[in-house]
Symmetry: C2
Subunit: 430 residues, 2 copies
């Protein structure tokens, strides 16, 4: 039933509402910016070199490369590249990064098939929704056991995007999901290594491969996701009831989270709270009290980092940066030079961090005491709603910080006018 | 410790004894014959078409194709192709098909690297031994949960073969194993579909990819196989103690089983028992009583098949074929015409099949009562030792039945003289 329902959604699902489609465009912009900015990361270069050296058909574009490659290879490279900075979107319903698994598959197959820009966007949206739904169905036990939903649920999403794009009927769509079930993989034990972004690449590549094979007549077990000893049962799947509730009517994708700070997600609620305050001058600050959920205390509470990487995991440092007017969205802000800045070092000495179990993992409270005794207070929950207008402005600013404002504006204009995959491929490559 | 020990075995392991190396040559012959014979199976054609259409570098040969492709693609195609007939070798210590996962990886990388024939054979042997050891370490629960060791343990073996071939040191070898841990996959729920041979292909391709990436500097979690939330713990691995006992001194590979009949493995002990008897003339046979382990009764006891596929799962039919002088090794013997042959139909009506829990899964007993009252009895256990001489003669005969005696002899001569991978690639392609 699960696969059958998903297959009909892929083959015959309705068009999403305009607001959802606009959210997809924003995620596409965000994905493109993350990929372009990540193209020189070592994991991106390594994967790209391997695939480029295969000298295949010039079918699909790669981030940061003047050469095109076959769709399977492009999906692998672009997935790893766009997740290299870990700055891409996240869905907390299943805890996965949908765009980095699905967008590369959709774009590569769309380029190969000569699809329209509208078809590309619709396929990506279908695939992302499927990845979230499958991830929800797999459930928290799947994630807690050690599977990286970006790689696992993401592969089903990538296959779904490809199936939609190639116009598969429901039977073919089910076959694509059933086939990718024997190849979907990705472990969280790779976190902290190049294996994490690679998991996004393999999801995308596995989806593309499944779709290409089914298009040629490959006959797998079409219930490979859910059958006895299928993917779910063998991978600690919970088979969560209601995972497909409202499919085609409500879009879980609408709840996507975008990162607006180039640091650990545990710091974002704090930075959002500060961002909502009238920022005092650094010299007026007597003390800053951060309150956060206890789980973050071992994750991102380095008191006095000296490196850019350390800064990305430091409440005190990012608080000092935010109060000192240093962009926490820009990658280059996280540097040894920033850590060495005397004004910022002085500021961070005035910051204390306390854990409070009463907060959720997505909440934080900030209290700034000024030298005149005034106390400024703010709180933030990452789940707080954000208007499409605000989100658009912030994602454009983030993209600008990542790849330059001119380029970000150019890509956004192309996405908004639903430019074709060849054009999108061209701008991410150059 | 597991990965570290395996990594040292890969990087610095001793040469195997000559008898083990001769066994490897026999498995290489058997693998080549199965692949050549399987090249026109639909799953082979589908995978090959996908990879050939990518028009990549002419690096590594494909079964039954005049065109070469990049190593990753060749590994995928040749793995699926050589397992398409399900006639390749099996290791019962973990229940996997080592050659179809490892040989394609070793050959493809050897062609790309211009390695010697001796290096190719040594790498394949190392890889197969690693796949069996990892499979034993994962244990029966891994298999029973639903994982296809050919795909899972096979991927580690394929990576090991590649690591040995490219001269990786122990740290690089560990990295290759650690990286493939996040990509290894394969489910038994694909059995009975094209997904089964595909699992062999993905094992080979995953191994090649891991090795190529590590060669370029990819840094994964090198303990991805065994660490907390690593491949074993997340995939129902038992972490069987003693799985690496004697590694480098004793070779589990020595216990490899080759199929000598092109039918379900549950029928082989019966056919071996009959093969060891003085075969009576069909017209002299009054009745035949087969006794087998109960598990096979639901697997391969079709009483009166009418198709070639049905014959492959029928005690009565294959017994009639063996007594009627029809080769059970030749693929073309399993046909509707064979099922329709009046002499064989008459023979199979005289065959009864009984289950006996006292037998193991690899044992069978046969009692033939002749019309003159004489009773001929025989029993066989597939685990019975076979001399290298006998095995060589039988595998050469099998290869001859599959691909023609001249071609089989040519390939065997090349393997025995340790011809290089380019030459081996040339003969499997044509």
């Amino acid at each position: 039933m699960l696969t059958e329902t998903l297959a009909h959604f892929i083959a015959d699902g309705p068009e999403a509402p305009e607001e959802t489609r606009q959210m997809l465009r924003l995620s596409l912009l965000d994905w493109a910016a993350c990929g372009i900015a990540g193209a020189e990361e070592p994991v991106a270069r390594i994967c790209r070199d391997m695939v480029v050296e295969e000298k295949g058909l010039g079918e699909a574009a790669l981030f940061g490369a003047g050469v095109k490659v076959p769709a399977r290879g492009a999906a692998l490279v672009n997935g790893a590249t766009s997740h290299a900075l870990d700055y891409d979107d996240t869905h907390f319903a299943h805890i996965g990064h949908p765009s980095v698994a699905v967008m590369p598959a959709a774009l590569a197959l769309a380029e190969g098939a000569g699809a329209s820009g509208a078809a590309l966007q619709a396929a990506a949206l279908t695939g992302i929704e499927v990845s979230i739904r499958v991830g929800v169905w797999l459930g928290r036990s799947h994630y807690q056991t050690g599977f990286h939903q970006t790689g696992t649920a993401g592969a089903f999403g990538a296959a779904a995007a490809g199936a939609r794009l190639l116009g598969f009927d429901a039977a073919q769509s089910a076959a694509a999901l059933g086939l990718v079930a024997t190849r979907a993989s990705g472990l969280k034990s790779q976190f902290g290594t190049m294996g994490k972004p690679y998991n996004a690449g393999i999801a995308a590549a596995n989806g593309v491969e499944a779709v290409l094979l089914v298009a040629k007549g490959f006959v797998p077990n079409p219930e490979g996701l859910e059958c006895a000893q299928g993917f779910g049962p063998t991978h600690a799947g919970e088979a969560v009831e209601g995972a497909l509730e409202g499919l085609g009517e409500t879009w879980l994708f609408d709840g996507i989270s975008h990162k607006f700070h180039a640091c650990c997600h545990g710091l974002h609620a704090t930075l959002e709270a500060i961002g909502g305050m009238n920022r005092p001058a650094p010299e007026d600050v007597a003390s800053v009290a951060i309150t956060t959920h206890p789980r973050w205390m071992t994750v991102c509470n380095q008191p006095s980092p000296e490196t850019g990487l350390g800064a990305k995991f430091s409440y005190r440092m990012v608080t000092a940066m935010a109060l000192g007017g240093v962009s926490t969205a820009a990658l280059e802000s996280y540097s040894a030079a920033t850590c060495a800045d005397p004004v910022l070092r002085d500021l961070r000495e005035r910051v204390t961090v306390t854990a409070d179990e009463a907060l959720t993992e997505t909440e934080a409270r900030v209290a700034i005491t000024l030298k005149d005794g005034t106390v400024l207070e703010a709180a933030h929950d990452l789940h707080a709603p954000m208007s499409l207008e605000d989100r658009t402005a912030r994602l454009k600013a983030k993209a600008g910080a990542l790849i330059g404002e001119g380029r970000a504006a150019q890509i956004w204009a192309l996405i908004e006018e639903e430019a074709g995959p060849g054009v999108i491929g061209g701008v991410i490559a150059s």
